[in-house]
């Protein structure tokens, strides 16, 4: 039986455990067992993006060690954490003869969730159903960081009963940007406003994302503005049979 390692991400773990559960369900149905390395915490992206490289390295070393004790591909429900493993870890350990090769092996094993389903498993139809309209927001690091876009779209296209509509200016950042949303709340607020008005223009009640960061940001904004639209991780749509 094939086994995958789930790097669930700190955000899904702490705030959106249902997304993690959906992924476990989907893999079980595909006959793939999911292993969860209990020592995993965070990928260190907040520290890396803030420029705190020493801190980011400490977390990256921890994460590398955790997954070195495991086997199988590493799957994560976040384009930005996948980008962190695949690109930023290599940047962090550039010129480090001890850690760079270890970071490289980790990177080679890492896949974003929809990328893994479509590119590694060749699955684009999970038999999921949805009653209503959906629209998709491509997260910056999923779309531009690791070039994953056709995969989530192909999976959504096969959801029965769902009407997919385009999100205007979909490729624009929602304004999360990790610590930027705290360091520069004014900028973050403007982009969030634009994202929400584009969501309203799409007339879809539901926004699908591939990253819990965007999810908590956009959903937090919708809640503040008392809007009815909801944001959902793609795994929870695909699990819906």
């Amino acid at each position: 039986m094939t086994q995958v390692q789930l790097f669930v991400t700190c955000l899904v773990d702490s705030f959106f455990p249902k997304t993690g559960q959906a992924i476990v369900d989907i893999f079980s149905h595909l006959g793939i067992s999911v292993d969860f390395a209990r020592e995993q915490t965070c990928c260190g992206q907040p520290q890396f993006n803030a420029g705190l490289r020493k801190d980011a390295r400490a977390i990256a070393e921890h994460t590398i060690k955790v997954f070195e004790n495991t086997t199988g591909d590493i799957v994560t429900p976040s384009g930005s954490c996948a980008h962190m493993f695949r690109h930023n870890y290599l940047e962090l350990f550039e010129g480090d003869s001890l850690w760079h090769p270890r970071a490289k092996s980790l990177a080679a094993r890492t896949f974003e969730f929809t990328e893994y389903l479509v590119d590694k498993l060749g699955v684009t139809d999970l038999g999921a159903t949805w009653d209503g309209v959906l629209t998709y927001h491509p997260s910056c690091h999923t779309l531009r960081g690791i070039n994953v876009d056709r995969q989530p779209r192909a999976l959504l296209a096969n959801v029965r009963g769902a009407t997919l509509v385009d999100l205007p200016h979909a490729e624009e950042c929602c304004g999360f940007g990790g610590i930027m949303s705290v360091e520069h709340p004014e900028l973050s607020a403007e982009w969030l406003k634009r994202k929400i008005s584009n969501l309203e223009a799409s007339q879809s009640p539901t926004l699908v994302v591939t990253d819990a960061g965007c999810l908590m940001h956009i959903a937090g904004g919708l809640n503040r503005q008392k809007k009815q639209q909801r944001v959902i991780h793609i795994a929870e749509v695909l699990r819906n049979v």
Binding site: V8, C10, V12, D13, S14, F15, F16, P17, G20, V24, H29, L30, F36, R38, T41, P46, N49, A50, G51, L52, R53, K54, A58, I59, E91, V118, G122, V123, T124, D125, L126, G127, C140, R144, R150, A154, N158, C173, G175, G177, M180, S181, V182, E183, H184, P185, E186, L187, S188, A189, E190, W191, L192, M216, H217, A219, G220, G221, N223, R224
Partner: protein, 683 residues
């Protein structure tokens, strides 16, 4: 310091006029860019090649510079090297002061033979007036704050790019590296022109543009020095390439007796072939044009012209030896500004340093090179980014800007003036730094991590027992515009550990992953002539097919009631012209309405014509430019024509009538160069 920036950001966001202008800029430029790239389907491969070329140049910069300088000296150009802005300014001051310029200008009027380069000069007595420098757009001159330094020394400097002219009159810095007045509405320009130039208030953009043409024409004709930047230097041939749309770049490099070109030392390409590649990417990225209206290639000074070339370091060597080296690959197209959601809220004026001075380079590239070149004052700008990657996506030389921004944040920008102030987490507020360092402790200890999750969940449930969301105060940053989710009562790891993740049953249907087919509709390829005509017509130019160009041109002139033309020798049948009572002259002046020239060749894919040396004035000064082109001389593309450039003193590819979009991004035809271009193609 970050607070200064945040105040400035708030001001920009609240300025509705500015926001409208910025949205307008972003949308038009991005759409224009996307449309222009459709005509080069291999653009991804091109940009990788461009990246490799720029990487090679920066890696071997000393050798390429030596080659470039030697070639220029051989070509009769006076080359100076400046290690910083003070040196560059002194060189320019020395040039301005050492020449008896005003005397020359006066004599120019009295005795045309003395300075045959500028017979257009109309002979006013200018003794006692200030030395006048007519300046074409140059971001490097902004970097060294040249205008300010020159004016302090009693020199009159006039910006001649329409956008730069506007911001100079407003005593502002450019808000965008390509469109300096991108932040202004036409009403503001109308008021400015009414107030400063004394014209009746009008928001009609063509009238405003025509006013600038008239005022600045006088400046070109009486300037002692023409000043320009440099888009590319070609190491192998020593060519300097300058691209402009309005024609002011051509004016300042061909009319005044002295031309000073100021270039950043990194702006080199190895040879003309590489230059063609860069030119296929730069204008498409910058303005959505296949080629700018005027692509000038300068080899030697014109007869009786002195050309100085100043090569500026000003921190570039430092940058080259730092982890920000890749930022030197930049070709200053401004696409990353247009794509950047931060720039779209701010404009260039909000990128301010700790001392509140405006960074010379805004946008994503600016947040890397402003601290990279000028130091710690601008380091905090790099924190104002979500690292969304839109900039990298549009970069024509594929610079990994998000990576470079994280390097600036990591304190890896080079130290300037031995002030090693940059540290880990550069520009971060202390609260965020402290919070993240705490989080590092937690995230490297899994048990502490799990315990903290439980603690947070409990605390937050106490604060917000009923809702899944917590309203944080605005000062936390997050609470400014959104609510924070409550920690899950049971985290994923708890559920996993408790074996709660049940498995349901359902059928799985596997399908092959979708195949994506590109829709290549087979269309017959148009001939070079058809393509040339199509491209030039789309730009507002006119193409006439003829067997007898002189006859056709006489008909055109009669129709327009024109009796006198400026004529490049050996272009038309002069006896026919005489018979038709058309007066013609070879001496350039400012009054003749038509200039007729021979085109060396045409370019099918851009609708351009190549003119050189003897045709430079006739194709620039009059309102109407007529070019005679043999249909067999229409070549497919720019690289095919570079061979004709090598042996010329100066050449220019002309792509349509002169134009600008400097006021409200509204395309306006006819700025400093001709308003009309008519190409008579001889079958």
């Amino acid at each position: 310091m970050t607070n200064n920036l945040r105040t400035r950001i708030r001001q920009s966001i609240e300025d509705q006029t500015l926001q409208t202008a910025l949205d307008n800029n972003a949308e038009r430029r991005l759409n224009g860019r996307a449309a222009a790239f459709q005509s080069i389907p291999d653009w991804r491969e091109r940009r990788q090649r461009a990246h490799a070329i720029r990487a090679d140049v920066i890696e071997h910069l000393d050798e390429y510079l030596a080659q470039f300088i030697a070639k220029n000296e051989g070509n009769g150009v006076i080359v100076h090297r400046a290690k910083d802005s003070a040196e560059a300014i002194n060189i320019i001051l020395d040039i301005s002061k050492s020449l008896p310029l005003r005397t020359l200008s006066t004599q120019r009027g009295k005795d045309k033979t003395l300075v045959p380069l500028s017979p257009v000069f109309r002979g006013r007595d200018l003794r006692g007036e200030k030395v006048l420098i007519a300046k074409s757009k140059s971001m490097v001159s902004e970097e060294i704050e040249l205008n300010h330094a020159l004016e302090k020394e009693g020199i009159r400097v006039v910006e001649t790019d329409l956008g730069e002219y506007i911001v100079q009159m407003r005593h502002e810095r450019p808000s965008h590296i390509i469109t300096p007045a991108a932040h202004l509405k036409k009403e503001q320009v109308a008021e400015l022109f009414h107030e400063k130039l004394g014209i009746p208030y009008t928001t009609d953009i063509p009238t405003l543009t025509a006013t600038a043409r008239k005022v600045l024409r006088e400046v070109f004709l009486t300037a002692d020095i023409g000043f320009s930047g440099v888009n590319f230097g070609v190491a192998e041939s020593g060519t300097t390439c300058i691209v402009t749309n309005e024609g002011n770049g051509r004016m300042v490099t061909t009319i005044p007796p002295v031309h000073i070109a100021l270039m950043g030392m990194e702006r080199l390409v190895p040879n003309l072939e590489d230059l063609s590649l860069m030119l296929s990417l730069l204008p498409r990225s910058a303005t959505g044009q296949k080629l700018t209206v005027y692509t000038q290639l300068l080899n030697k000074p014109l007869p009786d012209q002195t050309r100085h070339l100043i090569i500026l370091d000003n921190g570039r060597t430092r940058l080259k030896n730092s982890p920000l080296k890749e930022s030197l690959y930049c070709i200053r197209c401004g696409a990353c500004l247009n794509a950047c959601p931060v720039f779209r809220e701010l404009s260039g004026h909000a990128y301010i340093g700790k001392d509140k001075s405006i960074a010379p380079y805004p946008g994503p590239i600016g947040s890397v090179i402003s601290p990279g070149l000028l130091g710690e004052n601008f380091v905090h700008l790099a924190q104002a980014s979500s690292l969304c990657g839109a900039c990298k996506d549009v970069c024509p030389v594929d610079i990994d800007l998000p990576k470079l921004l994280t390097r600036v944040r990591a304190g890896e920008s080079p130290a300037v003036d031995d002030r090693q102030l940059t540290t880990d987490g550069a520009g971060l507020t202390w609260t965020t730094r402290f919070g993240l360092q705490m989080y590092t402790r937690i995230a490297t200890h899994p048990k502490l991590f799990a315990a903290s999750q439980k603690f947070a969940a409990l605390t937050m449930t106490l604060f917000s027992p009923r809702s899944q969301w917590i309203r944080l105060p605005a000062f936390t940053g997050w609470g400014y515009s959104k609510d924070f989710p409550r920690f899950a009562g049971k985290t994923f790891r708890q559920r996993m550990e408790n074996g709660e993740l049940g498995v349901g049953n359902r059928g799985i249907e596997n399908r092959d992953s979708e195949t994506f087919q590109s829709s290549n509709s087979p269309t017959s390829k148009p001939s070079h002539l058809e393509q040339f005509s199509q491209e030039l017509t789309a730009l507002g130019g006119h193409v006439t097919l003829t067997k007898n160009p002189t006859q056709s041109i006489i008909e055109f002139l009669n129709m327009r009631g024109i009796k006198k033309i400026m004529l490049e020798p050996n272009t038309l049948d002069e006896s026919l012209l005489r018979e038709a009572n058309i007066e013609f002259t070879n001496t350039p002046d400012d009054q003749t309405p038509v200039g007729a020239t021979n085109a060396i060749c045409g370019l099918a894919d851009t609708g351009s014509v190549l003119e050189a040396d003897g045709a430079l004035h006739a194709s620039l000064l009059p309102e109407i430019h007529i070019a005679v082109l043999k249909s067999s001389d229409i070549l497919p593309s720019l690289p095919d024509a570079m061979k004709f450039v090598k042996d010329k003193n100066a050449a220019v590819f002309i792509t349509g009538p002169s134009r600008t979009a400097d006021i409200e991004m509204t395309l306006t035809i006819g700025v400093h160069g001709p308003k009309e271009i008519h190409v008579f193609v001889v079958e």
